[in-house]
Symmetry: none
Subunit: 132 residues, 4 copies
Amino acid sequence: MRVLRIVLAYQSSIPIYEQIKEQIKASVLSRELSENELLPSIRQLARDLKVSVMTTTRAYNDLEIEGYIVTVPGKGCYIKKVDDDFIKSKHINETKKALTLAIHQGSIAGLTILELHKLLDELEEQRHEKCD
Amino acid sequence: MRVLRIVLAYQSSIPIYEQIKEQIKASVLSRELSENELLPSIRQLARDLKVSVMTTTRAYNDLEIEGYIVTVPGKGCYIKKVDDDFIKSKHINETKKALTLAIHQGSIAGLTILELHKLLDELEEQRHEKCD
Amino acid sequence: MRVLRIVLAYQSSIPIYEQIKEQIKASVLSRELSENELLPSIRQLARDLKVSVMTTTRAYNDLEIEGYIVTVPGKGCYIKKVDDDFIKSKHINETKKALTLAIHQGSIAGLTILELHKLLDELEEQRHEKCD
Amino acid sequence: MRVLRIVLAYQSSIPIYEQIKEQIKASVLSRELSENELLPSIRQLARDLKVSVMTTTRAYNDLEIEGYIVTVPGKGCYIKKVDDDFIKSKHINETKKALTLAIHQGSIAGLTILELHKLLDELEEQRHEKCD
DNA sequence: GTGGTCTAGACCACT
DNA sequence: GTGGTCTAGACCACA
């Protein structure tokens, strides 16, 4: 079992259990956590995050419903197998959401679709420069 | 005074007052509503949208705080002049953030920049279809 | 809004929230509760059943995830539309579960499949007699 | 003493000790295990199943309470004589209950008695396939 | 030790 | 009024 790097914004409008969920999900999708890995126990995580047991319970419970983990009463919670296509489709979905948001914001700013394409290229360019 | 075209998703997770706000904002930014134009009264709008007066009050109140409208007690609410450049730069910023996120998520999903452009066009297409 | 007839076995090994869920589900599937009907509020139900608010919350939350109700914050919880095919498939599923259990129990008792068929006919017969 | 064929679903919602119990019971009822036969020791079984000794202890303890086995301190656990008729009638009762439920659910789903018979055969078929 | 459920309060945002 | 979240305990069954 590895220690999870979970950072909580206690004052955020995003519920704490949601933050825990999303960060574990992200770790699964980025392959940081892999199949059959044992997660910290509900109580341990609650202690670590200085949060109520009910809160971590809710997060783990939701993750089980969404198919990311299995919980075995009396033993612990384990990462489930997620297949590559599922992960890819998740990321494509995120990409689409981001692009849709860009189109929306851009339209308010009065940008044409052509200008959006130009902007996209520019940002991609900058990204490469940074990586170099 | 013109009748506002406001469409509410009563069961959305986005608060109704927020939906009203955003749609009025968008109308202002798209010049559909122009300076000094009189908005429907809080009570009239509440009746039209079959919504509590508290809800429309909250929306108008927020819009006033954000500087989009001005309330003249006893007369009504009027659209204020908006500082174009400020608004525009704000939204361009949002656009850039969204595009950068799209590039990032897309790269994880293994999408090339070309595929991103194609996706952008597709989503723009779909957006037009919906509006028709 | 109608009062729900929910009977709880507080000492059962079946969790209370599960009992609530199942009884509401059953009411939906039997068309006792119909589309758009307003359910008792989480708090009202908690008072009625002399149960913690968290417990009714959990039940309603699960029902929303499973698609039986919609909850609208600040307004209440409503029965969602369920289509006939969905209901039928649910009941067929229950039928299969019951038959599978019968096969299992029957095999332990040493019954052949033929005897099971005979038993099925007998019970069906008795059922008709009762109805007459 | 014979080696028990026990297959455990470690992540099932059915407790492991329950799974062990049920499989031993089934073996007794099917005459696979017969009177006075010596069962593997609690510790041996725990090793074989890679399970805590507490778990096998619980299973054997329950079996003794239910009258299926007898524990002789210092020697081991033996299968007891089972009262055939009592057991059989119990299971036939369960079978009838399950069939009655199937008839009821089936009638809601609009199934005829003929379709129920067909369903029964299909499920019996599938059961045999799984066992092969 | 583990997870599962439950309580009896609380505060918050929204209608 | 409504639902959403959260706490800080508790008891239970299981491993």
